[in-house]
Symmetry: C2
Subunit: 248 residues, 2 copies
């Protein structure tokens, strides 16, 4: 089986997240959604609503990963500066996108396109629209960067709309062993198994009274094999320590 690794990053333009006023909901949605098509979310940055900060994050990440998504700052008010910042990041002109303008005109009615509404049609010249059914504000794509709205409901619709355009990679599958033993009891065997199967990412996550051993990988046979080996090791340590095995 040929493995194909596709990676992505997310930039959350997020004064309201950083001030603690709002809890982000887009990170987890994107992580799960990308996972479903075999794209690995590798990095997330939350930056203030500042031109310099947005440009720096987007330019650092778009060179490093296959796709970059941004969330927030595409509305009609003065604090919505994402589109202008993205134009600068690409050294592109920032001007009215005629298609976006038509959508806004149809939505608000001809003659009702005030300055603030028209602002939502301003984009980099190379922008390709990403529409949404809820309102007339469009997101856009420029090269490998997808500029989406911050409102979770609209972020989701826009992401679903772009999903078919994304080139998916080999899906990472996950298996999880939930045990009663604490981490320090299984750590040595777990580390040995990780060494034996370096192609599987093995992580351990403790909670109140249980520990979750998580196995992730794109080679499903080895994934299955490594999990089964760990289950055997665990049962040898303590026969009733395995509470559950979850496979995604």
């Amino acid at each position: 089986m040929t493995q194909k690794t596709i990676t992505a990053a997310l930039v959350i333009i997020g004064d309201e997240i950083l001030s603690g006023r709002t809890k982000d909901e887009n990170l987890n949605f994107l992580a799960v959604g990308l996972g479903e098509i075999g794209v690995n979310l590798k990095e997330v940055r939350v930056v203030i609503d500042g031109e310099e900060e947005i440009i720096e994050a987007v330019n650092a990440l778009r060179k490093k990963y296959d796709y970059v998504f941004t969330s927030g700052g595409v509305g009609p008010t003065h604090d919505d500066i994402t589109s202008a910042a993205i134009a600068k990041a690409f050294d592109d002109e920032y001007l009215v996108n005629e298609e976006a303008k038509t959508i806004l005109e149809n939505y608000y009615g001809h003659g009702n396109l005030n300055e603030a509404r028209l602002k939502m049609a301003f984009m980099p010249s190379k922008a390709i629209l990403i529409q949404n059914e809820i309102n007339a504000a469009s997101g856009f794509k420029i090269e490998n960067v997808f500029v989406l709205a911050g409102i979770p409901k609209i972020f989701r619709i826009m992401f679903e709309g772009t999903k078919t355009e994304l080139q998916g990679g080999t899906k990472t599958k996950m298996q999880e062993i939930k045990i009663t033993l604490t981490e320090s009891v299984i750590a040595k065997d777990f580390a040995n198994l990780q060494q034996k199967y370096p192609q599987i990412i093995m992580g351990s996550y403790p909670s109140e009274a249980t520990t979750s051993l998580v196995f992730r990988g794109t080679d499903y046979e080895i994934l299955e094999k490594s999990v089964n080996e760990m289950i055997l090791i665990l049962k040898n340590l303590q026969s009733d320590c395995v509470l559950a095995v979850v496979k995604s």
Copy 2:
């Protein structure tokens, strides 16, 4: 009044967040907690459990902000690599911290300190312990970097323990006007007000049927003044459009 700006960043070491398996809970807690002592959270990065990624993020942020917090990767298993990575980031030795070792010995009982448990005592040589009452695993501080556990409950206890050590700045206060008008109706007046009071950060956040105009600042008189002016402007636009005014 003398204004003092203190800034912070957070690095979430987060394979489990990036894969979508877990939703982060530490960002919002830290944002709120720092806000209470007048420290502004300015940037967050979520990186994979990779040495290079942790080093790069921590080194970029610790030069840029007054404080850096990290979340996750300080346990006994092989995937817990934060402490070792931080030692490398500071070009410091990575060795047993005797104080941390004593805490672990007292917790597990003498003679029960296996390799995995002892691993939790390994830290940069310049580390200053951050203890927690729940388990024997310590976090630590090195220069302006605070290395905390990822489990929300322990992250919180460790943060509360360090809070008194942080130098707070002028607290940012927030006021919020909730209105029935859509953003594009108030955008122009709102932008004009922002221009008039550049020391106040004004943001607009739409939801289903309402819009929240958020004012944040450290000059409380100007904050109050700008909010009151906006309320007047709004009432002139439509007398019953203001649903609520929230002051923090």
